[in-house]
Symmetry: C2
Subunit: 216 residues, 2 copies
């Protein structure tokens, strides 16, 4: 067996990671609002009191999950812009990468997207600003692609960005790691459908079908 | 002023509606898990204890919201099937109607779709069966449309149904009644984009863009 000589710093780092991993499991299963530090302590196998050596509140754990997730998401945005010159090509790379990242980190990323709203004060402002960043990133690319005639004129970039990101975020409600589809299959289907949704032509025969009276 | 002579039955019905309306407000704002009967009582303006004349638990309120929502959603499914013969036309009518219904009843429907998971026992089984019904309805129409060559061959009806319904469900996170778009605008954008996502052709120039190495 290897000699076990960890420094205090690395011990602390390991315990931090262990705590974050436990918090991700608990927040994902119960939802942040209903989860407790007691639940986290039970997974780690320590008394609740000893968690306070590492964090001061349940919100601390949520904040760390969000900070780390945002750092990863920011890298994906930056790399997507560098990957191509055309906005629709950049969007394609972005959607594929962000979807793979989401599916491969489904618990963590789903918490970041859906539970960040429970942060308070300065942290809440930050996570809201970040939410607008994602939206703005997609909206801007759709808008630029529309100017260059690669997206249908009648697409509203703001609504399109919401529907596309909403569709992505839905994977946390139905994707199962042991299910029928691989992360790559989900990411590709999502990317293809999203691009087709803004750039595709609806077959002519469809346009003659209008909603029946009384629909609105 | 009109003479006020209500029967006991109608009094009870009014109080029931008032309770459901209050529960919808509270569950939507706080989330079901974090909401309490005390919150509901405060909105109605009664003591918590008097709620027990009408319901026996917080779950009762959630169950009623879900039962009523499901009845409405079932009507929309049935009417959409009757509205046309072609599966893609039926899907178009369905998506438009269900989106209008969702946006016009954003609080109630969002609770039905997102908080039904907190029900227990038989009620939980029912709401899960209903969730599968929605999914199966869309999947079946996509599948039929694919057989009739009106949907791209490479579309997986199961994944398509999840992404389309996920995109619809996202409206509860971003739609604001006092916002930029009317329910009709949202419903139309959602319907057009969803149909284009399964039936549209991705412009050829896009197909040459492949994700960079290291993406999966």
């Amino acid at each position: 067996m290897a000699t076990k000589r960890k420094s205090g710093v690395s011990d602390r780092r390991n315990r931090d990671s262990e705590l974050i991993a436990a918090a991700i499991t608990v927040f994902y299963e119960k939802g942040y609002a209903a989860a407790s530090l007691q639940d986290v302590a039970e997974i780690v196998g320590v008394l609740k009191g000893s968690l306070y050596h590492y964090i001061s509140s349940k919100e601390d754990l949520l904040a760390r999950i969000c900070v780390e997730s945002h750092a990863q998401a920011s890298v994906i945005m930056a790399e997507s812009l560098e990957s191509a010159d055309d906005p629709l090509d950049q969007l394609r790379v972005y959607l594929h990468r962000i979807a793979l990242w989401y599916v491969n980190n489904i618990e963590r990323v789903s918490i970041y997207f859906n539970e960040g709203k429970w942060l308070t004060g300065e942290r809440l402002s930050e996570v809201r600003t970040q939410g607008r960043e994602f939206h703005s990133f997609v909206r801007t690319l759709v808008d630029k692609a529309r100017s260059s005639d690669r997206v249908r004129d009648d697409i509203d970039p703001r609504v399109a960005a919401q529907l596309i990101l909403g569709s992505l975020n839905s994977v946390s409600t139905w994707y199962r790691p042991d299910g029928l589809y691989s992360p790559e299959e989900i990411a590709s289907a999502f990317t293809d459908m999203s691009l087709a949704s803004i750039s595709g032509e609806v077959p002519p025969v469809l346009s003659r079908v209008t909603a029946p009276d009384g629909d609105d």
